[in-house]
């Protein structure tokens, strides 16, 4: 019986592998082609049929991005905004997550409901009044304007609360009996135990900010405040839209750092996302 079942199983496994490998090629080929093509000349990029390996590899596209165009500045802007947004969220959302999970106070339920309700609000539905607000605060085209609307995100409070709920109350109670105030309990007991949650929130927030497009497009009005995606998108539809090499090198500059970090931290990424999914 066993022996008879084996061979169709082996055939099924082979088919499965073929399908999965084909899928893998479809998923990864665009990245490989992007990276290779960013070293090609304009002429080669217009060639039909297209090439894979650059016939005459050149750094010219990158040199132009970094020397003639302001890509170093856009890179700094993207990184600075992402760092500030991430740091703000880690601090604000872990403290609020702790309060919602472990402290009883008037207004707690209302705050939690607001946080839950906000999870469904799309950025596309709020950016117009956000812009009106930010311009009345005089923050259009400033770093503060880029950062503030994303510094206190509901999803991060939700994640931190869910994680902190799983910390046993006894642990916190014994510290309180030993005379620790709530601040010390949070800083010395809760936060050190939150390592995995902080890592997940940190990675997802940084990534969200690095890749964010709509808000920086709206609020950065002069080139010196552009983030990378804004600069690339405006190049790709503006006067540089026919500069193929430039656009591919620009895409590589945005994507490659993320891919490297992702490859290094993939377990954390994937687990974090999976737990998020399961818990909610």
């Amino acid at each position: 019986m066993r022996r008879m079942r084996r061979s169709p199983d082996r055939a099924a496994t082979t088919v499965l592998y073929v399908v999965l490998v084909a899928g893998l090629l479809v998923m990864t080929a665009p990245f490989v082609w992007m990276l290779l093509s960013s070293f090609k000349s304009e002429g080669e990029l217009r060639q039909a049929p297209p090439t894979w390996l650059p016939t005459d590899p050149t750094w010219a596209n990158y040199r132009e991005l970094f020397d003639r165009l302001d890509f170093p500045l856009y890179f700094t802007n993207s990184a600075l905004v992402a760092i500030l947004v991430t740091a703000g969220n880690l601090l604000l959302c872990s403290a609020t997550g702790y309060a919602l999970a472990k402290l009883r106070f008037a207004g707690r339920r209302a705050l939690f409901l607001l946080v839950l309700g906000n999870l469904m609000v799309p950025p596309a539905a709020t950016f117009v009044p956000q812009f009106v607000l930010v311009s009345n605060l005089g923050l259009v085209n400033t770093y503060a304007g880029l950062v503030l609307p994303n510094i206190a995100l509901a999803v991060n409070v939700f994640l931190m609360r869910q994680f902190i709920l799983s910390i046993p109350d006894d642990l916190l109670e014994s510290a309180r009996v030993d005379g620790a105030g709530e601040w010390r309990v949070y800083w010395q007991i809760v936060l050190p135990l939150c390592g995995p949650a902080l890592a997940t929130v940190g990675i997802l927030t940084f990534l969200g900010s690095w890749n964010n497009f709509l808000w920086p497009l709206v609020v950065a009005t002069t080139e010196d405040k552009y983030t990378l995606p804004v600069a690339l998108a405006l190049y790709s539809v503006g006067q540089n839209q026919t500069r193929y090499g430039l656009l591919l090198a620009g895409s590589t500059v945005i994507i490659l750092p993320v891919l490297v970090v992702f490859a290094l931290l993939q377990r954390r990424f994937v687990q974090g996302i999976a737990t998020t999914g399961l818990k909610s």
């Binding site: 479809v26 082609w33 117009v128 009044p129 895409s251």
Partner: protein
Amino acid sequence: MRAATRVGWAFALPFTLLFLVFLVGPVLASLAMSFTDIRSADVRDPLAVTPIGLDNYARLFRDDQFVQAAGNTALVVLFGLPLTVALGLLAALGLNSGLIRFRAVFRVGYYLPVVTSIVAIAVVWRFLLQPESGLLNSLLRLVGIDGPNWLNDTNTALPAVIAMIVWRGLGFQMVIFLAGLQAIPQELYEAARIDGAGRWARFRHVTLPALRPTLLFVAVIGSIGLLQVFEEPFVMTRGGPLGSTLTVAQSVYSQFSFGNYGYASAMSYLLFVAIVLLSILWFRLLRTEESR
């Protein structure tokens, strides 16, 4: 104020203030603005604008461009969601079948597009879809098919954009499904096997029911993402040709850049309502006994 309340708010207040001002406030302001004729010139004095009731909403239904954008967005959800969910589930089932080596390699590879900037990857896809020098058509030529000018043809532009959206999104769904699959107790499968259930019957009667909460989650998250599709058409087609890839989020943005803030708010509120309604629909269809 009780001491406990003081302590609680000491932790929660900084977040709450920023959250109320920058996220909750705008949700309400958006609704209020949608009943006015506020324009960019009124920004300094937003309370002085004239209320015009439901005029903005009435105008939406007469606005051919918006109607077209709403139709396109509906098509994105209608085709994009089932495709992403089905392919994500298939990938997860394949990787979860227990026979697979190099599982981590597949998982990382399928997930790669999810972490990348939509703008950057949309630029790359624009090249892949070029009629002459594009990779896709050169592959099609190998098997004797003369591929169309994907992004410049009203028949193929929207399907091409949807294909890119599915390609980018299925890895996320896969990871969620993998976690859901791994949470199913093996005893259920053993019991089904003893009852003589074949592969399909086990999938139909054990896996699918157990995945209901996961399906609900991916359907809700997927709908929210697809309803606000913006970057892909912005970069790949600018909404063209002839508006065939224009989406609601793009219409909101273009009304915003014309300075029509009230009208843009009405559009974006309709988008928000669509998200809520679709989420409610998924809850009704897919809720389980425990979540009732």
